[in-house]
Amino acid sequence: MTEHALMSDPGTSGRFGDYGGRYVPESLIPACHEIEAAFRDAWADPGFRDRLTTLLTVYAGRPTPLTPAHRLSRELGITLLLKREDLTHTGSHKINNVVGQALLAQRMGKRRLLAETGAGQHGVATATAAALLGLRATVFMGERDIERQELNVLRMHVLGAEVVPVTTGSRTLKDACNEAMRHWVASVDDSYYCLGSVMGPHPYPWMVREFQRVIGEEARAQCAAELPAAVPDYVVACIGGGSNAAGTFAGFVDTTARLVGVEAEGGAAATFGRAGVLHGFRSLVLQDEHGQVQEAHSVAAGLDYPGIGPEHAHLRDGGRARYETVTDAEVVRALVRLARTEGIVAALESSHALAWVIRAAESGGIAPGSTVLLTLSGRGDKDIASIKELL
């Protein structure tokens, strides 16, 4: 469809078709150039790759298992395989990206990591990697998310990170991103912005996808061992900015597997968004007719984001991946169902992917007997308090 293979290096312009780019103030351009150069250099350096692989193995707990969900599979009439990112250190896929970026920041001589966080998983992962490498961490988090993800705020404090409450706008992830970027402009000399998803200015969408690619590569090999056809019929992941999905898709984009990203109905940029520019990149954005960005609404703080990573917008336009939405009610039901059939309490975010699989399998959208790989991006401990009210 393009001269570039899908999910490859987007080059110096950072474009994925019409999307991506680097829409940041001039003050940040040198930093973006510096990070791009450092990442290209590190990614080509076997020493850096070895260090990263070692840390992911001995510290973060990779490779993560592929768990066949036997009882739920039987109920749904499909073969459902769960890629267990919930079993990583800190409990979500966010650690894969953060260990990579923290090593890069250290290599660049930076002393402090800045991060935005929604559910707090990226914030916790950043605080963790900072502690591990002897860096400082400052995490921006919407006031509303601080209330609903209290456990993760406490974890960040224990880990020695500074958590800065963001009180503007919707007081969720979108505003945390604004604040992190403003802070980055003012402290770019000694601080490294450790972005948590496949968004932001080039090189972040590409770099974060590369750091998350490990999910898809492991899963591809595990599926080959587990499935007679080697490749599943469906590959499904939830989408906030889209990093666990991008990492998963990267392992299967050149196969026959159907790629499905699942968004929260109240934050479904791929479904209801229009092309726009937000937080440094061009992509699909939820906005009103005048171009003001709308607030997303989801039970899952990590999916409360009005945009989607630029590469996903490109995959959607080209038809290589499709994007679906599920409601909060379906998500809570899916979470409980997985807990009671498989003994796994998934994060509300990850439960979006599951909610779609359940709906599609029960309505014939996924044919009986199909094989489905689902990335279980994180564990649900952080959500127990909010689920209690929704049960």
Binding site: E26, S27, A31, K174, H290
Partner: protein, 289 residues
Amino acid sequence: MTTSLEEFLTARRAAGRRLLVPYVTAGAAPGWTDVVRAYADAGADAVEIGFPFSDPMLDGVTIQEASDRAIAAGTTVTEILREVTALDVGVPLVAMTYGNLVFQRSGAEFCAALATSGLRGLIVPDVPLEEAGDLADAAAKEHLDLVLLAAPSTSRDRLRQIAGRSRGFVYALTRMGTTGERGEVPEQAARLGRDLKELTDLPVLFGFGVSSPAQAAELARHADGVVVASALMRRLLDGARPRELGEYVASIRRALDGAVDREPDEHATLPRHRRRPDPQDQVGPLPRG
């Protein structure tokens, strides 16, 4: 018939004047167009009009709040352009907004709409050099000057490219950070001003953090003038009337004029803006807060 922003500012500079460009967020208060008039009457050389955006990445709390108020009051690009069309203040008006509003339909359509409404310039802080190509072409077609930003972190080589591509003036950021009032003039601003002046004949204006007449005068020594935004918008948010905002602009005007070695020739190109003796001129800056 029409003088471009660049021609206008260059002529004023040639007349020995330090340039002053005050800012207002459109829609931040009812009657905001009176603020534009008050600025012009107080000796502004151009007026920057902010088109409010929900996620102003490069703005500090003051302009964020002004933008939020304007959006909450129902301000839209269409409405701003309607009001601007009726404005004739004798100095060029420059739009400042973020990429998402510019690219709603296309950069070309946005530029055409601005030009039709009589605006002469456009500043888009989140559209840097590499992303500005098509927009710069579209703006040029409409005789609209696309002003590019330069930062203390910008390399000399890049400064040269920015100066080569910018039209109207070069917007030099005094500091690494967002808009908002700050105390001292950083050393890096002086350096950036000097570098840009060496590289270009375009007017070079400092913006970000200009918060007092004395500071404006100090900065203007290193370039051709200043953009003043948050200091004015904070006063507006605190309830200052257009007349009071005009008085504040006049106080900066006086400070800038004092910083010029020779008497400015005010008759050069600006018949409407000869400085009248004005009793308000005796009034100092409004107290803070």
